[in-house]
Subunit: 340 residues, 2 copies
DNA sequence: ACTGAGAACGCAAACGCTTACGTTAACCGT
DNA sequence: ACGGTTAACGTAAGCGTTTGCGTTCTCAGT
């Protein structure tokens, strides 16, 4: 650190206003014990001088942090960036700053991120992404978060079940059910379900409901598991279609996979929805831009993020809150009745 | 803060090891002036006690942060999220954490973000997004950054000119030139250029080169300005096409706008590329997913982010570095020779 | 045995802010 | 007009580290 103390300090603001730093502090934090006149004046001067509280000093002195940690499964997936956008915007409204990390769906990495956030005394931690069907696998994370909350921190998850903290839950079963029902109503009775890693709760929920609804309607269902990122969903779908030549629809359990399927089918010269109908789940922004535009179940993604952030600003409840967010079926161009 | 296990402090570690906190600090930080025996012992005890440095105290006392601030023009634009992904990944490799903010292209907001980051003693600040053609408009930011770097911070920008710090520059002129040349080679001689706010340098660069290349080829050029976010580029394009019925191509200066144009044309029942060819610039992920897939000039977006982060990890050079990143023309389905 | 140079370590002053307490002054009722 | 409140401020004690110096100790050199 060569040089000039770049930042304006509270003491300078106080001096300029002709008051003590105590009064200046109180004025800025809006606490009582200061006349409105003085408080107003201090705030004005602070503004003019471009004063920004040194969060390190503030925190050290007993104030709390303004950092909110956000851990994403994957950073370049539109599903998550939409959620992140919601969190960031809500955070800025609440004068908080967001620190982003990503876990690549690796529990170990995720643990490391949480620990780092705890050490940073983050005011809140938000984890977005699917959990694991094996509770054992997130036991450590759960303990860590419990200790963190006991210590005054706030945590919330988006789309998880077992972490013991407040949760915003996209209604995955409902979403899958709606899409499946749509397919059934169109008349499809032989559908390929492109699924993801069965160890993810999101996958389990969506797949379970999809298969249930489809089977209840007497449809033949073929489930194909891929890696849920959509990287080879297209290839997987083509393979399955080869094995199931009578299939009339491909139901992908996420938009990412559905888009991959669409691309694969287009390359293979298969007409959608003429020959095969395709559906997704999530309604990422791209869904309506691609062609044919995608029939899917929409979640208000950025609102999921906003809701999670808001949960963390409220005091901890005695029992973890659970806010279920319903999905809404969006019928677009990628689905049609099966060719008779 | 109902105070559970107050964190272990350095003083406790020091006491347990029978040394002063000064020695303890030096031992842990691996500085000289401590015998290996003692240093080793202190480290062992710290480990046993589960000591974690209080980053606030450390920073306040003059230590440095591991925070990298990233300011985005817009948080939910794929162009920026791709860049952000590159930054985040590179940062994690370097054991840094990223704090994200967004400015909505508002200089005032941007200033506030920078100040906040400076106050947070961020180790580095990265600003992504177009600058303003009016240098006056970013004078304050420039000063702020200069002071920040003088104080030991590191800053880098992506896609800006005037900020006086290291820069990663997508070759906007080159990109626009390549696309324009492609159009010319296809035979287009009457094209509508969908441009953005002229106050943005990115717009100025792209538009300047596009118009230059087009005009040099003897083409009629109609420039339409929109807001560069793509919100009404579609409508704008339709309007321009009404006024220029002989136009055979629409060259949008960003993919976001191109996609909007594509949507607009599709709704209006115009055949692309049969009747009108459409091009973009950037090559966001969606570009190849939409239909018709978009002819555009590709920038390796996440690499832009990675490069910027890497620049900030190197010591400051005597003169700001400037890394120009070339674009590469990607011809897809949205362009074809004009209908004769 | 004495001096001087280092090595090894301790002291204490910041860092910029929050906040418990103490002080001052204006104002109340009687 | 006087004790007693109370609002409005100022004082100063931390918060947990880092670090510039000062101090002590060791040991080689003479």
């Amino acid at each position: 650190m060569a040089g000039p103390p770049a930042a304006v300090r509270l003491s300078e603001v106080a001096a300029a206003a002709g008051v003590s730093i105590a009064t200046a502090s109180r004025s800025l934090r809006g606490l009582g014990g200061v006349s409105d006149t003085v408080a107003e004046k201090v705030r004005g001067i602070a503004e003019d001088l471009g004063y920004v509280t040194n969060s390190y000093a503030r925190t050290l002195a007993g104030g709390s942090t303004t950092i909110v940690g956000l851990i994403l499964n994957q950073i370049d997936d539109p599903y998550f960036t939409e959620i992140a956008a919601g969190v960031v915007r809500a955070a800025e409204d609440a004068d908080l700053t967001v620190q982003i990390g990503h876990s690549t769906r690796d529990p170990h990495r995720e643990l490391k991120q949480i620990r780092s956030l705890v050490a940073q005394r983050a005011r809140a931690i938000i984890i977005a992404g699917s959990g694991y069907t094996d509770p054992q696998r997130e036991l450590q994370a759960k303990e860590l978060l419990a200790r963190y909350e006991a210590g005054g921190g706030r945590a919330a998850v988006i789309g998880r079940h077992f972490l013991g903290v407040d949760a915003v839950q996209p209604d995955n079963r409902g979403a899958a059910g709606q899409v499946a029902r749509h397919l059934v109503e169109l008349g499809h009775r032989d559908v390929v379900v492109i699924s993801g890693l069965p160890s993810l709760t999101t996958v389990e929920d969506r797949q379970g409901e999809a298969v249930k609804v489809l089977a209840a309607a007497g449809a033949r269902v073929t489930v194909v598991e891929t890696d849920f990122t959509g990287h080879d969903a297209g290839r997987a779908a083509l393979g399955a279609l080869d094995g199931e030549p009578r299939a009339t629809a491909v139901m992908a359990l996420s938009d990412a996979m559905a888009i991959s399927v669409l691309t694969g089918l287009r390359r293979a010269g298969v007409d959608v929805p003429g020959t095969i109908s395709v559906t997704g789940v999530d309604d990422v922004p791209v869904a309506e831009l691609i062609s044919p535009s995608l029939t899917t179940a929409a979640f208000p993604l950025s609102e999921l993020g906003r809701e999670a952030l808001l949960l963390t600003t409220r005091p901890q409840a005695t029992r973890p809150r659970r806010k279920m967010i319903p999905a809404q079926l969006v019928v677009r161009e990628s689905t049609a009745p099966p060719r008779s």
